[in-house]
Amino acid sequence: MSNVPAIDRSSRWKAVRSEVGRAVGALVIALAVAFIVVMLTSKAPFEALDVLLTQIPQRPRTIGLWLDDVAKLTITGLAFSLVFQARQFSMGVQGQVYMGALAASYVALSPIGTTWAGIPLGIVAAMIAGGFWGFIPGIAKAKLGANEIVSSLMLNYIAIEIVNLMVRTNLPKPQPGVLTTNDFPATSVFPRLFDNDWLSIPRLDIGLLLAIAAVGAVWFALYRTSWGLKLRLVGHNPQFAEYSGIRSTFIMVSAMTVSGALGGLLGSMFVQGQSYGMLIVLFEGNLAFEGILVAIVARSRPLAVPVVALFYGYLRQGAQLMNIRTDVPAEVIGVVTAIIILLVSSSFSLNFIKRWFKRSSAAAPAPATAGGAAK
């Protein structure tokens, strides 16, 4: 890094600043829209907003829920970042989460689960299962030309049904008829991170460490290995990559497989984490798809993913609290999510808003300024 010219570094900071500005601008607009929706529908809108924005830091329990969500959002954000950097629109993280969770549950509920190996083997099994589930749409696209969007989405639905089936018929469960498995043995559940006299945060487990490690690993793989360079080349300019002799199909399939392994890891974090410690049908609560937002706002940069996850996880948990304590359903956050994705993935910028206002207030268009801003 020492030989990076100063001018390059300052322009990089400028880019970071403008990206942050865009993200904050999008967040403000999205929250404003959500605020209008809450105002129109809630009997106590200000109370709802107060719960949404200020309640989390006040109790260790809600802080634990928030940070637990941040860890999970980071992983799904990384999984989407990897495939987005290779310009593949594989949408299969949800299915990979379910397959990973299933594999981890089989390990945890087997005799291995009662030994020290329950946690590491559970994680490995989950990553293999998730990787396999990510490999299928990859190889189907590379070898057979099947559209990865459709096939990965179909695999999501299939994975959910497989988990439903296995929980209902095959895995050991406390009593017939319930759609959960037995509690995992304590040796297979992630230990809590802070569990002592002076600091005790419920729900927060070593999944957070896994998430931090994953950020480092994905960053290293993308920016410090030749595989990562090839992957980014394939994503940025597939024709150039092809001409320079990069086997783009291999990169494509491997990116989807690694992304799938991350999805599988997330599955293990769900079921082996403090939040469940067992496998329940439909456990994932649509968190996996929210990785799209995290990846887009982070511009698919691994180091930015946890930062975005921190903010988005706060909103997500705030919405859950609002759902419990006020009359506003948590689903209002879907509106916020969609608006942020729309604004951040578009050429929306603060300049654009300024121009728009200028254009609508003064009827005379100013092509010169518009052209300048477009540059």
Partner: protein, 316 residues
């Protein structure tokens, strides 16, 4: 196995098949128009869902006839299409990301609106008195000698929208291949630089086709929530929009091919309806998986064929 054959070739199964195919077919036609104009519409799922909820909620207003509710569902889909076009073309966002944003918006927004309309129920609209689309009664066909009763059994009792969907295939075909605007649309999708140079407004055509696409998907949603089931349930489209997208790709981007693909997937959805009664030893989860597995298999098999054709063409 014998029971399955008897069931599959019965008139009742045919009626079920048409019922399950109709929403898929409408969404597929919508996806086809967008895809041919060069705008891959991955938001069909969200548009169907929004159309379904809008149709149900409008139909609960006293004094509103059913067709107004259906039109409202169509309108809701069209608005989402316009929104998609605005972000994709005016604000230059990636159309696939925009599509998924619309899906997220629809998944959250419909549950939110449902909870508001029902006073807190986030699951179904079962407590709201919503209307159904009437079935078309063709029992007068029984008067025809010999084949009359069979004709009635097969053709009577379908939703009005099933006939609309069947007609829409012809309409879309006629529009695409027999009108100048259809030629423009296909040209814009095939090679946008040429129509651009000829002065054809590329983005305007794509915007219009996304609006039409949304309207058709919304219509499919209305069929789902006002005929197949009466009332809205959360996530009731259950991947049908994505299956429709698969049908567009499978159908070789032609209306007739899309019709056949939608019929194929509709048949397997009809299996999901009838199989539990016939084979109670098959786990219901496996039966529910069938349409998704078939979609992947069909996509893979078709892509192999398409690639071989491409390779052959290149070899010549």
């Amino acid at each position: 196995m014998m029971e399955l054959f008897i069931t599959v070739f019965s008139a009742a199964f045919f009626v079920t098949l048409i019922r399950t195919t109709t929403p898929l077919l409408l969404a597929t036609m919508g996806g086809l128009i967008a895809d041919l104009s060069g705008a891959l519409n991955v938001a069909l799922e969200g548009m169907m869902l929004t159309g379904a909820l809008t149709a149900v909620l409008v139909s609960t207003i006293p004094g509103v006839p059913w067709y107004v509710a259906v039109l409202a569902g169509m309108g809701a889909g069209a608005v989402l299409g316009l929104l998609m076009a605005f972000f994709a073309y005016r604000l230059k966002a990636d159309i696939i990301l925009v599509g998924f944003a619309i899906n997220i918006l629809a998944a959250g927004g419909t549950v939110f609106a449902l909870a508001m309309a029902t006073g807190g129920d986030k699951g179904t609209s079962i407590n709201l008195p919503s209307q159904a689309i009437p079935a078309v009664n063709l029992s007068f066909l029984s008067g025809i000698p010999v084949i009359g009763p069979t004709l009635t059994a097969f053709l009577s009792g379908h939703s009005v929208l099933s006939w609309v969907a069947a007609f829409s295939v012809f309409l879309v075909w006629y529009f695409l291949y027999r009108t100048p605007w259809g030629l423009w649309l296909r040209g814009v999708g095939e090679y946008p630089a040429a129509p651009e140079a000829a002065g054809i407004p590329v983005e305007k055509i794509r915007t219009l086709s996304l609006i039409a696409s949304g309207a058709l998907a919304g219509l499919g949603g209305a069929q789902l929530a006002m005929f197949n089931y009466v009332g809205f349930t959360r996530d009731m489209t259950a991947g049908r929009g994505f299956i429709a997208l698969g049908a567009v790709l499978l159908g070789a981007r032609h209306p007739v091919g899309a019709l056949l693909a939608a019929l194929l997937f509709g048949t397997f959805e009809a299996f999901v309806v009838v199989l539990p009664g016939l084979f109670n030893w098959i786990p219901p989860e496996v039966i529910r998986m069938i349409p998704f597995v078939v979609t992947i298999l069909a996509l893979v098999l078709f892509s192999v064929r398409a690639q071989r054709a491409l390779a052959l063409r290149a070899a010549k």
